[in-house]
């Protein structure tokens, strides 16, 4: 695993050592009575070429954290930097532009468009980049080959297995070659063996240079990733663990 990290660090990063993403004292409070403090002062740095797991019990704030990292949500307080850019200064259009160019998402429920073929689903990953249909489809084909679905280009999602659907979703996330891939419970809807395949795919992509953040509450999965961040009650318990050591979960 550390080998994978090293190889990715040595291969691509445009700006070695630079943070792809940096959270500084990020708070997120959902309004209501009483208000829910989903995140309370999170600091986190993700470096180029890293692959990390965000773990924690249900309701601890993992999805909130991922949405903020993905600029789908804004911190109530604190700062999010993506490749050095302070996102709090960007309006909705700029944020959308940032997402289209630099971020790739993988969701638990795949979010594929059922009437489109696998190829066209992957091609939508480039739709808002303004690429021509031809370019989009050509790049989508390459991406599908990378996830091992080069033979199912024209299949509708309904004709694919759960694991294949998630592969299509992953191909869509990587097709625009983003700086950061954010996956929220990518194996949550899959059985163990199929989930295993998805994890291996993500690891392979990371080995090829992609920076990946995976949310999971599957400890087995988390343990196989080079770095784990544990979230408890909206706070990051222990910033970074680079080896296989189980985190001290009892701190409270």
């Amino acid at each position: 695993m550390s080998t994978a990290t090293e190889s990715s660090l040595s291969s691509v990063p445009p700006n070695p050592g630079a943070a792809v993403l940096e959270l500084q004292d990020v708070h997120r409070t959902y309004p209501g009575s009483p208000p829910v403090e989903a995140l309370v002062g999170v600091d986190l740095r993700v470096e180029a070429g890293e692959m990390l797991a965000v773990v924690g019990p249900s309701g601890s704030g993992k999805s909130t954290l991922l949405n903020i990292m993905g600029t789908l949500d804004r911190p109530t307080r604190g700062t999010l930097l993506i490749e050095g850019t302070d996102t709090s200064k960007l309006n909705d259009r700029r944020l959308s532009g940032l997402r289209s160019a630099r971020l790739g998402f993988v969701f638990q429920s795949f979010h594929l468009i059922e009437t489109l073929s696998a190829l066209d689903n992957v091609a939508t990953g480039l739709l808002y980049r303004g690429a021509t249909g031809r370019t989009r489809r050509k790049m989508a084909e390459v991406a599908l080959e990378r996830v091992g679905l080069g033979d199912r280009l024209h299949a509708r999602p309904t004709k694919l297995s759960g694991g294949q659907r998630q592969r299509v979703a992953i191909a869509r996330a990587i097709v625009a070659e983003p700086s950061l891939i954010l996956a929220d419970e990518p194996t949550g809807n899959l059985d163990t063996a199929t989930g295993e395949g998805i994890v291996e795919l993500l690891q392979r992509l990371n080995a090829d240079g992609s920076t990946i953040v995976v949310i999971t509450h599957d400890p087995d999965l988390a343990e196989r990733l080079p770095r784990r961040v544990e979230v408890r009650d909206g706070a990051v318990l222990d910033g970074t663990v680079f080896d296989g050591t189980v985190l001290g979960g009892g701190v409270r």
Binding site: R93, S96, G97, R102, F105, H111, I113, T124, Y128, G130
Partner: protein
């Protein structure tokens, strides 16, 4: 910063089409509302313009230069026209033809022993009547000079049917006030003067001599130079009755036909209003379906936002979807409306007249309605919180 979201124009359209294609049944049903509205509008416009064209052609062939001069009814007494009203009118330069008629006021019976009245009056006419009104007979012949005092009669088309006389076989007769008249002819239809079809025509001299009516004409039909109708019309009343021109009424039978077309106009307005209501309902239906669609597609909207769609991109996708949905209805409606017009006009033996502007306006109106109906749902879609939308959460 160069990271700009960009969506090509053709992709906006393609994306909206995907949205519609993925819900085919609903798309067609929703479009149907608009289709019905547009179809009724197109049919109303098409049928009325076909009918107008047919009417104008008919009026042209019948001639709009026939005027009727009659003693004005109203007041306590009818002031009859002077006996020489017809010759006086003939003296006007622009008058081509004039022909006096005397309404005897007597009803006709089948024979002396049959007391049933069928609502048919006897009219005293001269042989010129047939020329002035340009009418021919379908059976027998018209009155001729020398028959004016004979007990002979020509039946109007409707009068003949009411009297049960369909041909001249066996020498049919009718009875007026105890006098038998031999039927010598049956008139063709008189589209401009349907009232005359319900009369029987006897000679003016016979009317005066046998039925003892006053020799004053009750009407004079006047055929005028077609280019000088307007100029001649005001001269008729003072010429017919120089002493009491106010007691003379001048009318143009073709105006009646035109007036009937005006009555159709009211029906048209009603149908147009109904079409408008259908469009309104159709528009509301589209807005409704789009709102539902936005709710159902939160996940898709969230995904597109995650892939980099701006609020504007989402808004245009949904506005365009609504417009295309409605536009589809518009195209269906134009086809349907044209079909209805064609079938109807063919049945009426009219030339089909479908104004191209009306067809374009139909599709254009549908697009505009859809766009308008889509504004609110699209704004709702664009306002969705992307984080909530991807999680499939509500609120």
């Amino acid at each position: 910063m160069k990271d700009r979201s960009k969506l090509r124009g053709r992709d906006v359209v393609a994306t909206s089409v995907v949205g519609l294609r993925s819900r085919r049944g609903r798309t067609v049903l929703t479009a149907l509302g608009i289709a019905i509205g547009i179809a009724s509008m197109v049919a109303v416009v098409g049928i009325s313009s076909s009918s107008k064209a047919a009417l104008l052609a008919q009026l042209d062939s019948l001639g709009t230069n026939l005027l009727q001069v009659e003693a004005a009814t109203g007041g306590l007494s009818i002031e009859p026209l002077p006996i020489d009203a017809e010759p006086m009118i003939r003296r006007i330069d622009t008058v081509q033809d004039a022909s006096a008629v005397i309404d005897t006021g007597f009803e006709v019976r089948r024979n002396a022993y049959d007391d049933t009245l069928v609502g048919i009056n006897a009219l005293g006419v001269t042989p010129e009547f047939f020329e002035t009104l340009q009418v021919t007979t379908t059976a027998g012949r018209p009155l001729e000079e020398g028959m004016r005092s004979l007990p002979v009669v020509v039946l109007g088309e409707v009068a003949a049917v009411r009297l049960g006389i369909h041909d001249l076989e066996g020498g049919p007769t009718i009875n007026v006030e105890g006098h038998n008249f031999a039927v010598i002819g049956i008139l063709d239809a008189l589209p401009l003067n349907p009232d005359l079809s319900r009369k029987v025509l006897i000679g003016d001299e016979a009317a005066v001599a046998m039925l003892a009516v006053a020799p004053n004409p009750t009407s004079v039909y006047v055929r005028i130079d077609p280019d000088l109708v307007a100029e001649t019309r005001p001269l008729l009343a003072p010429t017919a009755n120089p002493g009491r021109p106010a007691k003379v009424k001048v009318s143009r039978p073709s105006d009646l036909l035109e007036a009937r077309a005006e009555v159709d106009q009211n029906l048209q307005n009603l149908l147009l209003a109904l079409g408008g209501v259908a469009l309104l309902v159709g528009g509301v239906g589209i807005a409704n379906v789009m709102v539902i669609s936005v709710l159902e597609r939160r996940g898709e909207i969230g995904l597109r936002r995650a892939l980099g769609a701006t609020r504007g991109h989402i808004r245009s996708q949904f506005v365009l979807e609504a417009a295309l949905l409605s536009g589809l209805g518009g195209v269906l409606g134009v086809l349907l409306g044209s079909g209805i017009t064609t079938v109807y006009a063919r049945r009426q033996d009219w030339v089909v007249d479908l104004p191209p502007t009306a067809l374009l306006a139909g599709v254009g109106a549908a697009l505009a309605i859809g766009m308008f109906a889509g504004l609110y749902p699209a704004a709702k879609a664009a306002r969705l919180d992307p984080a909530l939308a991807v999680s499939g959460g509500t609120g």
